[in-house]
């Protein structure tokens, strides 16, 4: 399996009106006002998750999908905010045994010790995807992108192959949108699972990058990323400190 054939996907809980968090979201209140409504399906049943353990108690249907999603995952890309908000997952990574790539402008000073390799990618989403794909290729699995901003970056750069939306039956009215000013992208629905309190949808992206993914723009982005690669350290091994 070649690395370029490794699927890059993302998954988010979203309200019917398109929000992934409520208003006034902050590092201390990452879900914003009332945003926890979007994650009630994590706890609305009595089936535990094989991968995540307590406190997850999902409906049987959602649990199966949720765990299958984790089964497919060979590498995770996370935004820096998601990383910080999750307290770096205590060094254990968002998913047991799966390497983590964190998109960031600055490598954190301290990284908790753990068995999961953490890689901090400071030179753009293209390089993060490249490295995560290489890691996922080893297990012949897919790359999962976590966090709204990281997913947006990926979509915009034309690097996303599929997206899973856990559509929650609520209108939040205001909040943090999943999709932001990105037009011209078309999808094909490849999975739909009607579960209690949530409709799980998976879409394959038909024209990656949409209107903004012109070959010229891509070339320019690649050139600027290549320049950055020369200047910046790619990563720090997990458990080390760096300045």
């Amino acid at each position: 399996m070649t690395e370029s054939s490794i699927t890059v996907g993302g998954a988010m809980s979203m309200s019917l009106d398109g929000f992934i968090a409520g208003v006034d979201d902050s590092p201390k209140a990452p879900l914003g006002k009332g945003g926890e409504r979007l994650f009630e399906w994590y706890f609305n049943g009595d089936t535990p998750s094989r991968h995540y353990g307590p406190p997850f108690r999902l409906s049987a249907v959602s649990a199966e999908l949720f765990d299958a999603r984790a089964d497919r995952c060979g590498a995770v890309i996370s935004g820096r905010r998601t990383y910080d908000v999750s307290n770096a997952w205590g060094g254990k990574g968002p998913l047991e045994g799966v390497p983590l790539f964190v998109l960031t402008h600055r490598v954190p000073r301290r990284v908790p010790r753990g068995d999961i390799p953490y890689t901090f990618v400071t030179n753009g989403i293209e390089r993060a995807v490249e490295q995560a794909r290489a890691a996922a290729a080893r297990s012949k699995k897919i790359v999962m992108v976590m966090g709204g901003k990281a997913i947006q970056h990926c979509l915009r750069a034309g690097l996303m192959d599929e997206i899973e939306i856990d559509l929650v039956p609520v209108l939040l009215g205001r909040g943090v949108p999943l999709f932001h000013e990105l037009g011209g992208v078309r999808f094909e629905r490849t999975l739909i699972v009607d579960a209690p309190g949530v409709t799980h949808l998976r879409y394959h992206i038909l024209n990656k990058g949409g209107r903004r993914g012109s070959p010229r723009a891509k070339k320019q982005r690649k050139e600027s990323a290549d320049r950055a690669t020369d200047r910046l350290r790619r990563s720090v091994p997990n458990g080390e400190e760096s300045k």
Binding site: L16, G34, L171, L178, E181
Partner: protein, 197 residues
């Protein structure tokens, strides 16, 4: 029992029209993609959704803006064509020119529209067309069901379907899900708001 239904096609990023809405392009540039599931290449399940809606609708409610943009296409018969379903247009005044023998009644408020449409619909349903009027009716607690035809495309800009809904979350009940080939048809019942103590 008559239900007030807000029934709209929407892009995955929440737009009911693309940008560039004008009389020649009432859905905006490329916005027609939202309706391909219903016109021309409707698959069997989608066609059924459409037919069921048409059969059950006894009256429509529309905002003035949607009316103005659409009336050149609708003519005297209105959006239902030969079925000539009565349409109530919420408007501050009556337009100078209205198609002769048209199905249109001009009313002053969303509440009046619902009242008049109820009387006209008999035991059939009321179809709310247009984002702004739909939003007003949702906010007023007058919408019973929201039917969304979710079309897998991102517009990035345009008119948002759900906007100006106020600060309270609006809870919906679990939807009935019908898988069209392109559009996903989701029918939600609006949960009745609990009275505040």
């Amino acid at each position: 029992m008559t239900k007030v239904i807000f029934d709209m096609s929407v892009s995955l990023d929440g737009y009911m029209t693309a940008s560039g809405v004008r009389p020649e392009e009432p859905m905006g540039d490329g916005g027609q993609q939202l309706h391909t599931w219903a016109f021309g290449e409707a698959d069997e399940r989608s066609a059924k959704v459409l037919a069921e809606m048409r059969r059950n609708v006894g009256a429509g409610i529309v905002g003035r803006r949607t009316y103005d943009l659409s009336v050149p296409w609708w003519g005297a018969d209105g959006p239902s064509g030969s079925m000539r379903t009565p349409l109530f247009v919420v408007s501050h005044g009556k337009p100078k020119q209205v198609p002769h023998g048209g199905v249109y009644t001009f009313v002053h408020s969303p509440e009046e529209a619902v009242e008049r449409a109820r009387a006209a619909a008999g035991d059939q349903d009321i179809d709310v067309m247009g984002a702004q009027i739909g939003q007003q009716l949702i906010r007023a607690g007058l919408v019973d069901e929201i039917h969304v035809h979710l079309v897998p495309v991102l517009f990035g800009a345009g008119a948002r379907l759900f906007e100006n809904l106020g600060d309270d979350h609006i809870q919906l009940e679990a939807p009935s899900v019908i898988e069209g080939t392109t559009a996903t048809h989701l029918r939600y019942r609006v949960a009745k708001r609990t009275a505040r103590a």
